[in-house]
Amino acid sequence: MLMRASWWKIIGVLLLLYTFSWGFFVPVPHIGNLYETIRNLFFHVPMWFTQLTLISISLYYAIKFLRNPQPQYDLYSNAFAQVGILFGMLGLVTGAIWANYTWGSPWNNDPKQLGAAIALLIYLAYFVLRNSMTDLDKRSRVAAVYNIFAYFIYVPMIMILPRLTESLHPGGKGVEGNPGLNGADLDPAMRLVFWPAVIGWILLGVWISTLVIRYKNLEEQKINA
């Protein structure tokens, strides 16, 4: 079973070790007022990649549950959403610290910050909805429906929001952002750390989710025993 296989966990740990070591040593270009804070790119940005990956997996299991109502799928969907929210919060915190030093204040009503905050609200509402029902079968079904509905509104939203409000992020509307930090023309030396970091964090996120799932399974076994 892929979930229990260890090779991808080892890869994830190695990639993160590489991120945490070479990420601090790699020579970085000095752009604007970023100075050395540019290294936060290896930690802040992958949080979003991980969050989106995890909530997409959560969506996948929600759809799977509706097609074939197995309680296991609902458990997966819930666990991936929970860990996704954790990474969303980490993304907000790392972003707020970075913004405090480069943009002047932790919160700037930047469309990407808004998108992140909205995702938090959506998934917190998802947990409230789940916990408001006691009938397990109904709870799983209603939660899956909300999960799918919210996801397919959220994804267009993060594409629309940047068109409506001005952004400080690179490639945003209004301000030039920080040239050289665009995904397309990222410094080659940094790119060699950035993409491994993204993969490493995603693998870590999936690993944590599988641990949550295994923990919940054990919990259930104990209750049923």
């Binding site: 509706l66 808004l114 909205i118 609200l121 959506i122 509402a125 409230v128 909805l129 408001s132 029902m133 109904k138 079904r141 209603v142 899956a144 429906v145 909300y146 799918i148 509905f149 919210a150 397919f152 509104i153 959220y154 267009p156 939203m157 629309i160 929001l161 409506l164 409000t165």
Partner: protein, 232 residues
């Protein structure tokens, strides 16, 4: 005396004969006309909210007027739409389900709530102009946008009302679930409505198109997901 119950029976029976979608829509409409207390309840809600705003703000400037208007629409929508699934009893739901099918049922509800919310939005726009001053330069285009906005809000909240009713929850849960999801529509509406205040707006039609696309998306999602919600 023609009671509510008779009216329902008459319309419910017609579900069999005519197009179920039209029949279900007519049933909702008839119920609303006969059980007038809910309609008056929403109207009173609109009137008293805007009256309180009048006392609190007097006549605010354009930006505040616009912001207040759409936020009030949001709350009106939650209140107007919340009851739409709670009034149906379990047995009757099953009956509709067997004779009309879930897709017809949700589409009829969406249409009915869109019409209801459109009317409420127009009324609240008139009250806003009356009580909070009228900063609108292009009243016609704002009216069109108000109709469109009422429809957009009602579509999202109708589906959330279905979810909340299934979870046996009240309007509070609807607000929790709905407010983060409605943000793109509300932001788009506020942005587009600037044009009615005389501001020059570039890319107006692409913003309008975006709003319509979002509405379409919500209808399609509701149409696909609703059957799963009501299956027992």
């Amino acid at each position: 005396m023609f009671t509510n119950h008779d009216a329902e029976l008459a319309t419910i029976n017609s579900v069999n004969t005519k197009n179920p979608f039209i029949a279900l829509f007519k049933k909702d409409l008839l119920l609303e006309i006969r059980q007038q207390y809910t309609l008056y309840g929403i109207l009173l809600y609109i009137a008293s909210t805007i009256f309180v705003l009048n006392l609190a703000m007097g006549s605010p400037d354009d930006k505040v007027w616009n912001g207040l208007f759409w936020i009030i629409q949001l709350f009106i929508c939650v209140n107007a739409v919340a009851k739409s699934f709670l009034q149906e009893s379990r047995g009757r739901m099953l009956y509709f389900y067997t004779i009309a099918g879930a897709p017809h049922f949700i589409l009829a509800k969406l249409l009915f709530n869109a019409v209801l919310m459109m009317a409420m939005s127009i009324i609240s726009m008139l009250l806003f102009a009356l009580l909070l001053g009228n900063p609108l330069v292009h009243i016609g285009s704002f009216l069109l946008l108000v109709c469109l906005g009422g429809i957009s809000l009602s579509l999202v909240f109708t589906f959330l009302a279905a979810i909340a009713a299934r979870a046996q929850q009240n309007a509070a849960l609807m607000a929790i679930m709905g407010f983060p999801l409605i943000i793109p529509q509300v932001l788009l509406l506020m942005k587009i409505s600037n044009i009615a205040f005389g501001a020059v707006q570039s890319g107006l039609w692409s913003l309008m198109g975006l709003l319509l696309l979002l509405d379409l998306l919500v209808v399609v999602l509701a149409w696909i997901l609703f059957p799963f919600l009501w299956k027992d």
